[in-house]
């Protein structure tokens, strides 16, 4: 087991290094340099700026410095907001994204599993049909459209009631979380509901359900103790990859709902060509995702010895 964990961790570290390197060279392939005439008025000022950010050194030396700094967890100073370190930006804005992501994941997992199970329970009846139509809707409508429609709905409801039931945008209290988290988790919820429904349908055919019924258990008991629990297993293993989908999908929702998360800052940094912030955020997100994947892999290894053996053979 230790061998397996070490192997996964080492592999994760190499992947993070790969992401950092790819990011570095992608950014250095950008034509021109970040200090054009608009930002640096005189040649002297330009030179000073280049020296300050270490851009006057050869690329190989810049790369070594960059990797060295990254090993110490230092992502440098923002190009456009000169008093802010990239680390501070991440520290300040990532928790917002993380809270939103966790809320979305919780909503998606609960809604998806329960919705899928109930749809299977009432197979081919009205609740099932309604649920599956909702699933198709959630899968085929883009998240930014759903976000906009949700905002429109909030505005209409607030207008109609004459009081502000839910805030339309912004960040601050718990009331700000619900709608963006729901919008963010909707696609995943639909996916999980679909998965849960088919998993549940195959469980319902199993012999032990027949046995349970023969023993005289009530429908509700069978549903709760035998069907739901068994059907959940394959769905829970799908949760890992969905974390990645939710965390990276967050920035559109952050943009539309004006939430000060890291994703919104990333888009902003791209628009302003803030090189250090772009590199720092990409590497940070990449490392975060790799870490999650490694953790999920390890926990699967703990749950299921077959995966561990298969992994060791690779």
């Amino acid at each position: 087991m230790i061998h397996y964990v070490l192997k996964r961790l080492g592999y994760g570290i190499v992947t993070i290094w790969f992401i950092a390197t790819a990011t570095f060279f992608a950014m250095h392939a950008v034509p021109g340099d970040p200090f054009n005439e608009a930002k640096a008025a005189s040649p002297q000022l330009r030179e000073n700026l280049m020296a300050r950010y270490g851009l006057d050194k050869p690329v190989s030396e810049q790369y070594l410095i960059y990797i060295g700094n990254m090993l110490q967890g230092d992502f440098g100073i923002s190009f456009t907001q000169e008093n802010r370190r990239v680390n501070d930006i991440i520290r300040e804005h990532f928790p917002v994204s993380a809270i939103l992501g966790v809320a979305a994941l919780l909503i998606a997992a609960t809604g998806g599993i329960l919705g899928g199970a109930l749809a299977a329970y009432w197979q081919n009846r009205l609740p099932d049909r309604a649920m599956m139509i909702a699933v198709v809707f959630a899968i085929s409508v883009p998240s930014f459209v759903i976000a906009a429609l949700a905002q429109l709905a909030i505005v209409r409801v607030n207008d109609w009631l004459g009081i502000s039931v839910l805030p339309v945008a912004g960040w601050g209290g718990i009331s700000h979380i619900w709608v963006p988290a729901l919008v963010l988790g909707l696609g995943t919820m639909a996916y999980l509901a679909r998965l849960m429904r088919s998993s549940m349908l195959s469980v319902m055919q199993a012999d032990y359900i027949l046995t349970a019924r023969a023993k005289g258990l009530s429908d509700w008991q069978i549903f709760r103790k035998h069907q739901l629990r068994n059907a959940m297993l394959p769905v829970v293993t799908e949760l890992g990859p969905t974390i990645a989908a939710i965390t990276t999908g967050g920035f559109v929702v952050e943009l539309i709902f004006a939430i000060p998360g890291l994703g919104r800052y990333f888009v902003q940094a791209i628009q302003q060509l803030d090189y250090t912030v772009i590199m720092g955020t990409t590497v940070f997100y990449g490392a975060f995702l790799v870490l999650i994947v490694v953790l999920v892999d390890i926990s699967y290894g703990l749950i299921d010895p077959r995966i561990r053996l298969h992994g060791a053979n690779r």
């Binding site: 992947t15 790969f18 992401i19 790819a22 990011t23 992608a26 950014m27 392939a29 950008v30 034509p31 021109g32 049909r129 599956m132 139509i133 198709v136 809707f137 899968i139 085929s140 409508v141 883009p142 998240s143 930014f144 459209v145 906009a148 905002q151 429109l152 505005v155 679909r194 998965l195 429904r197 088919s198 998993s199 349908l201 195959s202 319902m204 055919q205 990645a244 990276t248 999908g249 920035f251 559109v252 943009l255 539309i256 990333f266 888009v267 791209i270 628009q271 060509l273 772009i278 955020t281 990409t282 997100y285 990449g286 995702l289 790799v290 994947v293």
Partner: protein
């Protein structure tokens, strides 16, 4: 409504008395042809592609042409309207009126005359779009004369004008009010800008079956041209990356050994890259600044980042087939490599690739829309469904059709490709089950 591959697991296996079970599995297209939703999805997909290809010929309106007389309008039919010469300042020929009157009420200008009030120094003119609103509406102007020529973004709807005389002491209680609905006309200047023939004093305005957007551009032609962009990205990128991935995977699987190991490790690294972040990063790295159209970088980035899925799939299949009994016996019978690839590898891998293609296409359409939506993909004036949504969201509260039309287009495209993918994989399930018997 059966939509999902897993649903098939719960169905009872095909009845044994069916004769088909005893013969070879039917071809994929025949199973699909019996599936109503698959047929429907194929029809929609063909229609969408046809729209992208020949839509601009069938509906030849220029998506960038602005009909300023019909900004943000709902669906309208083609109409013949008068051309109004609005180049000169207007002075009323009659001034002796007993109430507020509209000498002319057209969408080019509403010319108002009202009786002069002896104590008034000037008059304030208000306009309101609500018929029975409590307020007076938008203050348009203050004038010293008893007439006013309103040319401010008039549309074909009811307006309530109110003229308030103002004396030295303040507003006088005596108001003049008038309800008018301007008729649709086009100004001489606008008509000549659009290149219309104004000789006869009347011009034909084209129909806008889906209305116009906030800049007066025809929504239908924008959606059609948007389909070109979205379909171009949505089809080329997946075809390219699945093709490349399949080749890469087949190479890894066939060569085996350390080459296979290295190739697949590289694929693993590419999978680990955060997709959307690198899509945007590539765009920056290729020197595309925000405001420039990045259609080609978008396709390239999608191809560079998305090929490993197909590579893994094909490699797995190749490995499985290499060890299978029928390939071994074919090899022993003296079959060449090319024969093996053509006879055994292709028929087994192609349907799988088809399924992943039909799931990759909606994903690519989504990605294009998302990037264009945040301004990182196609930029105005080139229409794409994503950028149309982006423009539509700004006027969502007052004119929701500008958002809903492109959103429905995206949804239909994504839905039909998804349904097609589901139907395909279901059909393969059926084929597999019958073939194994």
């Amino acid at each position: 409504m059966r939509f999902y591959p897993g649903d098939f697991d719960a169905l009872p296996a095909a009845a044994p008395e069916q004769m088909e079970d005893l013969v070879a599995a039917p071809p994929l297209w025949r199973i699909l042809a019996q599936d109503a939703r698959a047929v429907a999805a194929v029809v929609v997909v063909v229609l969408l592609i046809a729209t992208a290809l020949i839509g601009p010929i069938l509906w030849p309106q220029d998506p960038a042409r602005q009909w300023l007389s019909q900004v943000s309008s709902g669906p309208v039919e083609a109409r013949e309207v008068a051309v109004i010469d609005d180049s000169r300042n207007w002075r009323p020929s009659i001034t002796a009126v007993d109430r507020l009157q509209a000498v002319q009420a057209t969408t080019t200008s509403v010319k108002l005359v009202w009786p002069s009030v002896s104590t008034a120094l000037r008059y304030r003119v208000y306009r309101d779009t609500q018929e029975h609103g409590s307020g007076l509406g938008v203050p348009l102007a203050e004038t010293t004369q008893a007439f006013y020529d309103d040319r401010l973004q008039l549309r074909e709807q009811n307006y309530r004008y109110t003229v308030v005389p103002v004396s030295a002491a303040g507003d006088l209680p005596q108001h003049f009010a008038l309800q008018v609905k301007p008729s649709l006309t086009i100004g001489l200047f606008e008509a000549s800008l659009l290149g219309l023939n104004t000789q006869e004093g009347r011009v034909e305005l084209p129909a806008h079956p889906l209305g116009t957007d906030s800049l007066g551009r025809d929504m239908l032609s924008r959606v059609i041209h948007g389909a070109r962009t979205s379909m171009l990205v949505g089809l080329t990128a997946p075809i390219l990356f699945i093709g490349i991935g399949a080749f890469y995977g087949a190479l890894a699987g066939l060569l085996g050994g350390w080459i296979d190991n290295t190739l697949m490790r590289i694929a693993d690294f590419v999978v680990a890259l955060p997709f959307l972040l690198f899509m945007i990063l590539f765009r920056v790295a290729m020197g595309i600044e925000s405001g420039e159209s990045g259609l080609f970088p978008m396709v390239l980035a999608m191809v560079l980042l998305s090929w490993p899925g197909a590579a893994r799939l094909v490699r797995g299949q190749v490995l499985q087939l290499r060890g299978s009994a029928f390939v071994l016996s074919a090899r022993m019978a003296g079959a060449s490599n090319i024969y093996l690839i053509r006879r055994h590898l292709m028929p087994n891998v192609l349907p799988l690739l088809l399924v992943s293609l039909s799931f990759a296409i909606p994903q690519a359409i989504f990605t294009e829309a998302l990037l264009s939506f945040i301004g990182m993909g196609v930029v105005p004036p080139t229409p794409s469904w994503g950028s149309l949504c982006n423009e539509g969201i700004r006027s969502m509260l007052s004119h929701p059709h500008e958002l809903i039309v492109p959103a429905v287009a995206i949804s239909i495209a994504v839905l039909s490709f998804n349904v097609l993918g589901d139907a395909l994989s279901d059909a393969m399930d059926v084929q597999l089950r019958r073939g194994n018997r």
